[in-house]
Amino acid sequence: MAEASTGVSGGRLRFILSEMKPRGRWLTPFNVISIPVIIVGLVILWFRFTQGLGSVTNLSQAFPWGFWIGFDVVTGVAFAGGAYVITFVVYVMKEEKYRPIVRVTVLNGFLAYLFYAGALVLDLGRPWHIVNPIIGNSFGYNSVLFLVAWHFLLYMIAEAIEFSPAVAEWLGARKARRLLHAMTLAAVIFGITLSMLHQSGLGALFLLAKAKIHPLWYTEFIPILFFVSSIFAGLSMIIFEGTISEKVLKEYLGDKAGGHDNLVFGLAKGAAIAMFVYYFFKLLVFLHEGHWSELDTPWGWWFLVEVLGLVLLPCILYAFGARHRSLGIIKVAAVLTLIGIVVNRLNISVIAFNWQAPVHYIPSWQEIVVTLMIIFLEIWVFRWVVTRMPVYPGTNNRPAPAIDSD
């Protein structure tokens, strides 16, 4: 993105400004729903920053972390896991088959971090001190959260580099593009390592909450479980998101946003294997902890719903769908998996957290509206980018201005 500001000759600036203008129809159903939600969300945020978190959230002394952390940050980051999986497959393993979806996946990952991990700022009581662990006047090295915060930051930079060739192409900055392109492999390798660590790090946060998380969910293996589940969470998100954009983006891109049916079978296979392994991890942890007596309680039933209904079942569906080449079944599996990830992440961070508390936390409507606002904003930016930059194969959708100032 740096090129946009440094190499600016008048022509490029004018080009960027012209690109800011919205395209397409205005009164789409999505706009009609999202615009009011965003406006209400902004009003809620105004209250949140002037009157404190208590004025809009149901957080309490017993539930310091709620929906914003449990869903936006912890779940959102798991969903963004697809970016590191796909860059691994394409750039490291050189599996060219998946190259057509690299850019859109990296873009999705980058925006997810920007918005969902960025939502962390809304939840901080004293957000102006967020620079403290970064500029180094108070490094809390001993904290897992310190690590996660740094990794978010570094990973966003790595993903920005991975995506930057598309920006350079959009701006017609050839030399910059070559330079950025040369950095891709390094950024990818760095990004995958970071991802491994912060996907598991998000789980490691809850290691310290041993006294509070229900024994069926607390285990010293939470970090590994989080990492493995982020693989199939990411793959399922790619499948799910591909299905949606195929339908929705037709208006802008014709058929180019879709047409990767063949890839989907490969992704489904990968997800099936990851879920198979994850399921056995869960079994192992359960055997090791040996909380058999907990199974026949409401918490135990809920646990079984998560593990059997939202891990084992979609795993079998993925395998069945991949073997019998059935897109329909794979889509069902993807949706079930995503629900499973939401349930799992919320269980650990909110639902089975402080499970003995007499009054349990339930998110307020304001918390949900703000979450929707963040999702909609992300989709707005995503839509803006894919309709302008060469994200999908074959959509170099405008001629670059005939200047090359760098």
């Binding site: 099936a272 192992l284 055997l287 040996g290 395998a319 991949a322 073997r323």
Partner: protein, 41 residues
């Protein structure tokens, strides 16, 4: 109080190794099932 009595943290290891063996066997079948689709029938 765990400071005054014996706690065996490896009680379930035997079971865990059994699970491991099951996993490896099932994994082979699972992968074979998945890959069967690739072969020309």
């Amino acid at each position: 109080m765990e400071t005054y009595t014996y706690v065996n943290i490896f009680e379930t290891k035997g079971l865990e190794y059994l699970l491991l063996i099951c996993f490896l066997v099932l994994f082979i079948f699972f992968v074979r099932y998945l890959n069967a689709a690739d072969k020309p029938s």
